[in-house]
Symmetry: C2
């Protein structure tokens, strides 16, 4: 039997993929056009010897961009700041986060992100791209907008929270796919990091969405450079669409795993340090802001902070290179035979060379001298630090990843740039501008990876393919790649998605194994040091997050076996229950007095019998029902108890947000105060979700957690042996700290009993 094809779902996935892909293209081109213009002009000024003019030029443009980017965030939509990843993860775990899927957030995020990246701050566009992808998924699939106030009559069947969640996941995956040119990586990222509940049947559709996103971005990027049409539309050149393409493939050797493990350990430690420092800075910033008395002062401080960061960044970019001397173009035609000749510029003639597109900065361009015996020499020089700092982050990564350029960078410049960049990136993350962390993470990792690679060159000399294939793995560029993977892994603790993203980003399948090993070691080491950054931020932002597996410790470090505890140990009791036929006044009281999102409904099938669990009803459904006085009935005149007769349309009750909260509150207060409503009843039976799950009170707590998490529940009713409601378990009851408290009390009691 052919399976259902779900045309509309595929169309929607394609639409989301296309939109995210096009957005990625726009963002890429905007950033490119601004930064190219800025750095080209600056280089001209420096060539003319006007360093001061260059400084003022770069600082002016960058300051302007940063101010625009941060003012947008601070004054119009504070929730658009940062990468948006923790909020997205929290939302998909089941928490409602305000404003994250809003048109205004989207516009602010896009503009702010473009400004931030183009300004030269140590940030990348990837995190915001993921959030914007999710936003597009949430917005497009609903075909309506609360902010803009319209609802089109298309795809109405996707207007439920499950489908919406799926489209958000797909959109986030498409964001990754577009930003990194990694469709498989995007899919895995959505699966591993973004989503909490993954439906395997959606994998293929999400993959389609990611593929369309990558395709769209590549297609438009293939024809345009800085928005100028360059011909050859549709020709996917590897150097254009593979982010950090690796050109010279070298065979991996088993010995390469020794420095790889070292890099993994370093990645775990430095990643932990980065997370630790970043959290300290975020907490410190929060403490300072809390001390400020008025709102406008806080806003000004937030914008000024970014101005300070960008000033430091620009100052370092422009003046730091001057502290280092010029380096000659070196190349090796064979081992221990250094020649300086223009042939060095073409990699065909010499395996070990210096790249063509290094920055000269203030170094003399030099001339080529040709001797009579057909040999040539040059005194061309370049500046190493400028090659890393006087460019965009992506270009710097390209330089660091370049292979068979063993001596292009030496220790001093690498260390200097590493320290400055680590500090600036750590400070910027979490400030009031929309920014991602991927480019900084990759750059930092590539820097220390290159240092490790260089130290091996110092120890064993330059080895390359022409000298000895067996030792060709000792290439600083290759270790820059492994280092980047390790630091990325140490901060984010991503595993398989990161491996695939690194592979797709560099087009180098051969280094897959070392990349995997470094990521794995980094994760192991990192897990000893700190939480993953995003999860730490979730905690910091007070977003309740349910891990896939509960890890509860008691009295120091003793893990508690949840199998030995029962659902009743953590449930909230007694719960607020509703009868299937309830007075309006009671309902209004309940809604006003409790903040619960859902209520168990009880019912007795026979007169006189005790009321047993019947189903669940949500707060929103109750509110909608109370908004329809025609549903009210008096005690004497009950409607027939036929669940088929529903007076409210299904569509009306399946909204996921109430817009008129004030109005509702007024109404509820009226219902509570007016004694008339004590005699008015509502028959809730048709609106109750009878397929709500319940568990017995002696159910194992571990299994309760697994069920709650696997099925993506929000409330779980606990019943006794005769199906009477005795409690309710919500997300909050299963959070780590709550479990620990509840179980600590019980364990204490048990101990006392034993004594």
């Amino acid at each position: 039997q052919p399976s259902r094809l779900d045309w509309d779902r595929w169309v929607m996935m394609g639409l989301i993929g296309f939109t995210v892909g096009f957005l990625g293209f726009l963002l890429h081109q905007i950033i490119e056009i601004i930064s190219e213009y800025k750095w080209e002009k600056a280089e001209e000024f420096i060539k003319d010897g006007d360093i001061a003019v260059a400084y003022i030029w770069v600082l002016g443009i960058s300051l302007l961009l940063v101010i625009v980017g941060s003012v947008l965030v601070v004054y119009f939509r504070p929730s658009a700041g940062g990468s948006g990843m923790p909020e997205l993860i929290g939302f998909l775990n089941g928490t409602v986060v305000r404003h994250i899927f809003n048109v205004k957030t989207f516009v602010v995020k896009f503009l702010s992100c473009a400004c931030a990246v183009a300004s030269g701050l140590p940030v990348g566009p990837e995190g915001p791209m993921i959030h914007m992808g999710g936003l597009i998924g949430a917005g497009l699939s609903q075909f309506r907008s609360g902010t803009l106030g319209f609802a089109l009559p298309f795809f109405q069947r996707f207007r439920n929270s499950e489908d919406r969640r799926n489209f958000i996941q797909a959109g986030a995956g498409a964001g990754v796919a577009s930003a990194f040119g990694a469709p498989v990586g995007g899919l895995l990222f959505a699966m591993e990091e973004v989503s909490s509940f993954w439906n395997m049947k959606l994998t293929w559709q999400t993959f389609f969405c990611c593929m369309i996103a990558t395709f769209t971005t590549d297609l438009f990027n293939s024809a345009f450079t800085s928005f100028q049409y360059k011909g050859s539309f549709g020709l996917f050149r590897a150097e254009k669409y593979i982010l950090f393409q690796v050109r010279n493939e070298i065979p991996v050797n088993i010995l390469a795993f020794i420095p790889t493990v070292v890099l993994g350990v370093l990645g775990g430690l430095l990643g932990g340090l980065f997370t630790f420092c970043n959290l300290k800075i975020v907490r410190g910033r929060r403490a300072i802001l809390a001390k400020l008395s008025s709102d406008w002062k806080r806003k000004v401080v937030r914008v000024s902070e970014l101005c300070l960061i960008i000033t430091l960044t620009v100052t370092a970019s422009v003046f730091l290179p001057a502290a280092f001397s010029c380096s000659p173009f070196t190349c090796y035609s064979s081992q221990n035979d250094i020649v300086s000749s223009p042939e060095c510029l073409s990699p065909e003639n010499h395996t070990i060379h210096t790249e063509n597109d290094v920055s000269l900065y203030t170094c003399p361009p030099g001339v080529i001298t040709r001797f009579s015996n057909n040999s040539v020499t040059t005194n061309k020089t370049f500046n190493q630090v400028a090659t890393l700092m006087f460019v965009t982050g992506e270009e710097a990564i390209h330089h660091l990843f370049s292979r068979e350029t063993h001596n292009e960078f030496s220790y001093g410049p690498l260390f200097a740039v590493l320290c400055i960049y680590f500090f600036l990136a750590c400070w910027t993350a979490g400030s009031a501008i929309s920014s991602g962390l991927v480019v900084p993470m990759v750059l930092i990792g590539a820097l220390y990876g290159r240092i490790i690679g260089l130290s091996m060159v110092s120890m064993f000399g330059v080895m390359d393919k022409s000298v000895n294939e067996y030792w060709a793995w000792m290439d600083p560029g290759a270790f820059a790649l492994i280092g980047a993977a390790s630091f990325f892994g140490g901060v984010s603790r991503l595993t398989m998605s990161l491996t695939v993203i690194m592979m797709e980003m560099t087009n180098d399948v051969q280094f897959l194994l070392p990349i995997m090993v470094s990521i794995m070691v980094a994760k192991w080491v990192g897990d000893f040091v700190t939480h993953p950054l995003y999860h730490a931020l979730l905690e910091l932002k007070c977003i309740p997050f349910l891990d896939s597996e509960p890890v509860i410790v008691h009295e120091g470090n003793k893990p508690v076996n949840l199998e030995l505890h029962m659902a009743r140990d953590v449930m909230a009791a007694p719960p607020s229950v509703i009868s299937t036929r309830e007075s309006v006044a009671n309902l209004a009281h309940l809604l006003l007095d409790t903040p619960h999102g859902g209520f168990p409904v009880v019912h007795s099938s026979r007169e006189g019998q005790e009321k047993t669990f019947y189903g669940m009803i949500t707060r929103i459904e109750l509110s909608v029902i109370l908004f329809h006085p025609d549903l009210f009935e008096t005690e004497e005149n009950p409607t027939p108890e036929d669940p088929e007769v529903t007076l409210l349309d299904y569509q009306q009750t399946t909204i996921h947000k109430l817009y008129n909260t004030d109005e509702i509150e007024d109404l509820l207060t009226k219902f509570c105060d007016d004694p008339v409503y004590d005699q008015q009843f509502v028959n809730l039976q048709p609106y109750v979700n009878q397929s709500a799950l319940s568990v017995r009170d002696n159910f194992s707590l571990h299994r309760t957690y697994i069920i709650f998490r696997t099925l993506g529940l929000r409330h779980l009713t606990v019943v006794d042996e005769t199906n009477k409601v005795v409690g309710i378990i919500t997300r909050k009851d299963l959070m780590g700290f709550h479990l620990e408290e509840a179980l600590a009390a019980i364990l204490l009691e048990q101990q006392e009993q034993n004594n």
Copy 2:
């Protein structure tokens, strides 16, 4: 907080990965040593003009291998035949399949697979590698063997069905990783195709297992060729560890997606045809075997069938090339300028060339003539069909995937090989030898992909990078790759894992998008035509399989909305229930008279109260309890109802198989017949699984299915509103055909009521 590290689990995963990897190395080397020896000798004979001798030589060796391989399967372990994939998938879906994780199966499978592949049958080693991987996962993790009769005191905590299942999944993934050199692909394969219940937390451990497997295989293969040490241990050369390495990367163009879609459609149709023919052949074979009266006749027929296939295969390999004339070595130095020169042999000088390692067969080797004006020419020739058939399947794929060899193969040979190979592969799959389908699928796909590519060369002429980069995508080798992906996709309907496997197998990230598109189109088209092959085989082998999403149709093609039905519509009622205190005779009767695997246990907490659902107990647990007469008690002397006091060890009841079935049956019969046991009781309370899930009878059927499938249940008790047991739902009740029958009856009733 650092998370638990689970050292033992990681160690076990590493151990499984290493073992599977080493096994892959052994299998690879054995096959290589045999086939190299066979084909080299044969080529020598042919070079001497002795075609008849070559034929006898190849046929002799191949026949011998096939007889060994099939006799092992037919006489020692019939369940080791085929790829083992359907059985593995069925087992992980929750069905018990006999003998699939047995030491004998493993040995037979390994030897039979090595014989089958080395003999030259149109089969590959990948499917059996996956099954053997799962087998190693199942066997190693338990550290005991029923067949060999030992149980080591290590890793005892993994002796439960959940952990075992996880290790089997990891082992199967490692099998893929080792066979294709694709660790990410292995992980995704385990996730997408093999497993039914996937625990996200295991992803990372499975990835580790796959990585170790790939690493081990690559490491040993790096140093050995046909078991001879060749030095450079640990140097991973791409040409050795990447299965079908693509050397000349060409940029993808948007226009390439037009033939890609065509290939996808072809892949879907031909894949469907392949599945259809294969099922017809399997059914036909079964019908013929059923007609045979005695067992030994059946066995002889099964072995002879394979002898017939190999005779046909060898005859085609040896004599078919003779039907085609010799082709000259051609190469293009520029468009429309055909030159025949020895430089053609070196790809550096001419982009469009003929490979060096083509088969000469009986063609004259030719000489190189050197003219005075420094130009050279050659009359060297080769045989196209021999290049594809007089080699192993993997080498043939290498030739087909070779790029910038536009005219190496022409239509005639490609069509001839395609037809013969399609027919033979279709026949062999399902015969009594251990064999996989991947190599045949890739080869068939590559053949028609190359035909489509060649037709474009015929239409537009040879285009290559030196002529016009924009049109360089028109390369028959590239379309062979896309065709292979499409046919693989059309038969297996794998999606993301296949994409990643194709990418890792060829080391070409650039063709990722076309590969994805062709696989997607092939899946869409294929889903209209037939089931995926493995799922069709599951049905044929009567293995009940629960899809991730129920698709039920009624009266032709109308899909039934399961949301409108209830759990009670499909449950088995009345169920066999047990009280917490039950007489031994009753229990024995129940075990003898019903085949159920689990029973709901009921209990009343107060005297006189109706008995409500208390938990589940499995058949195995009951049998174990009845084996311990010391647990029996008389009516007058009940043990205290304290669930903490257990007389049986937990380990004893958590076995997953009863070995002494005859003994148990005797015992049960005794319990039934002897009236003494009517007065003997057992208190089951301590052994009941109280965390067994139950649902209400009016629970939505759709949601019931989802819960059953998501949580990997085997039984689900249905209770009424007062928690009384009213029915039970098992795997069988949720199978498609059963659902259809049950719902058809209900729908019919509703219609009658309406009239």
